[in-house]
Symmetry: C2
Subunit: 265 residues, 2 copies
């Protein structure tokens, strides 16, 4: 298996970096090919702006999506964007390592998504007409690939449970797993979350490492989160979930075919 | 009223910038004081890293939260962070203008949150002991202030309805309205969302402007989203919502005292 690891943390001695090292070690030992994009160390250009398009006339108004479409089509994207797209196309599995800051990914990783998931690559794929709204949510450029979020959180696990004050971890990560990964076709595995990460003792780290290595051993057989396909028959022409599928859920959980329970540490 | 406007868009001729101009024009004409942070034009430093702390020894491991706590307490934050904190403390109302990119705010605004909402300012406020988990979710440094998201989205409105394929707009914005604003005490007004923003005709823009000016006229009287207070009696000692309040909802909607319906254009 070809595995692409993306790390977003400013500190080389961080827990996130240690977990990334475990990913590389365990998967290489198991015979997989692994490449890493360590965004802070790469000085990844975070901001989406006119400099992303080699042919864009800076005197013209920038419509970022249009410029992205043109540059992707004509091969005038910047080399850093192209390189990351190639890594995604190469990979069977993408593993994202990041700390949850303010209930989502760090800015540097968000900027990676904004720039790399270009129009024609990450969105705007396929025909948008009639009852079709393009190839998205289970179809698209990256269909058949899998991904997993490996997330550290400062907070306590109960605060992220179904009725916990922060909201359920599955819902907090839904805009990423469903909105960023499933959208261009990637199947998201249940996330691996380490809670109270700011106060991790040596003993707890050992337990986390054992659990995480176990997860990595099972990586190829774990079932992805069963999000519904846009063009799979569950949605009507307005992209509303058909009434008989609504049942007793509200919110994001409607878009799973079953309730997902995240593995937690 | 003192109003702090934060804009995150790379293009000065963008719809987002036009909406920001309407905010400034309408509120100044109504006698309010308005200041603007235009993040792209300010060359806002997006990345949270060791350079944010004037006293941090770069040979030492960076624990961002700890370094933030120390720098906030000792006055050794960088001037750009301090300046934004002062604007927040000055303001009665904060209006955020941004395009929804991949179901959340652009990276530059996320980086603003990560750096400005320091430990001791945005989080880690108050005692964390016993059944208290600090002053957050309706208490904290910024309590009594209000905020509103003014968001443009490329997608169509039905896709963001309660059963729409993207998930409900209220849930998509929950990690911001609840997790970023309500957390340090700010009450979030219902968002103002412009759908299909990439194909806005002159006629539709006129309608949007009328609706938005109407919204601004009512700004001081609109009721905030009624999120529950952490220490208001609705949560138990583990920060789980008490069972009698769960009723027939699942997901983020549990944390409103009533179902919120966003105004849409």
């Amino acid at each position: 298996m070809k595995v692409f690891v993306v790390l977003a943390h400013p500190e080389p001695a961080s827990l996130n970096n240690s977990l990334k090292d475990i990913t590389v070690d365990a998967l290489q030992k198991a015979g997989h090919e692994v490449i890493v994009s360590d965004l802070y160390r790469m000085n990844w250009k975070t901001l989406a702006d006119a400099d992303d398009f080699l042919d864009h006339d800076k005197k013209e108004r920038l419509f970022y999506a249009n410029a992205s479409k043109k540059a992707y089509k004509e091969g005038t994207q910047t080399p850093d964007i192209e390189a990351e797209q190639k890594k995604l196309l190469w990979a069977d599995m993408v593993i994202f390592h990041f700390p949850m800051w303010w209930f989502t990914m760090p800015a540097i990783l968000k900027g990676w998504v904004e720039r790399v998931f270009a129009y024609g690559f990450g969105y705007g794929v396929g025909k948008h007409e009639g009852k079709y709204w393009g190839l998205r949510y289970g179809e698209g450029t990256l269909v058949g690939k899998k991904a997993m979020l490996v997330v550290t959180a400062g907070g306590r696990e109960p605060h992220y449970k179904e009725t916990g004050i922060n909201g359920p971890i599955d819902d907090i990560l839904f805009p990423i797993n469903h909105g960023i990964l499933w959208y261009p076709g990637i199947s998201a595995l249940p996330p691996f979350v380490v809670y109270q990460a700011d106060s991790l003792s040596a003993e707890r780290f050992e337990q986390v490492e054992r659990d995480y290595r176990q997860r990595l051993e099972n990586l190829t057989t774990i079932e992805p989160i069963p999000y519904r396909k846009q063009n799979g028959g569950d949605y009507d022409d307005q992209q509303l979930l058909k009434a008989h599928l609504v049942k007793d859920k509200t919110g994001f959980a409607l878009h799973n075919t079953e309730q997902t329970i995240s593995e937690t540490v």
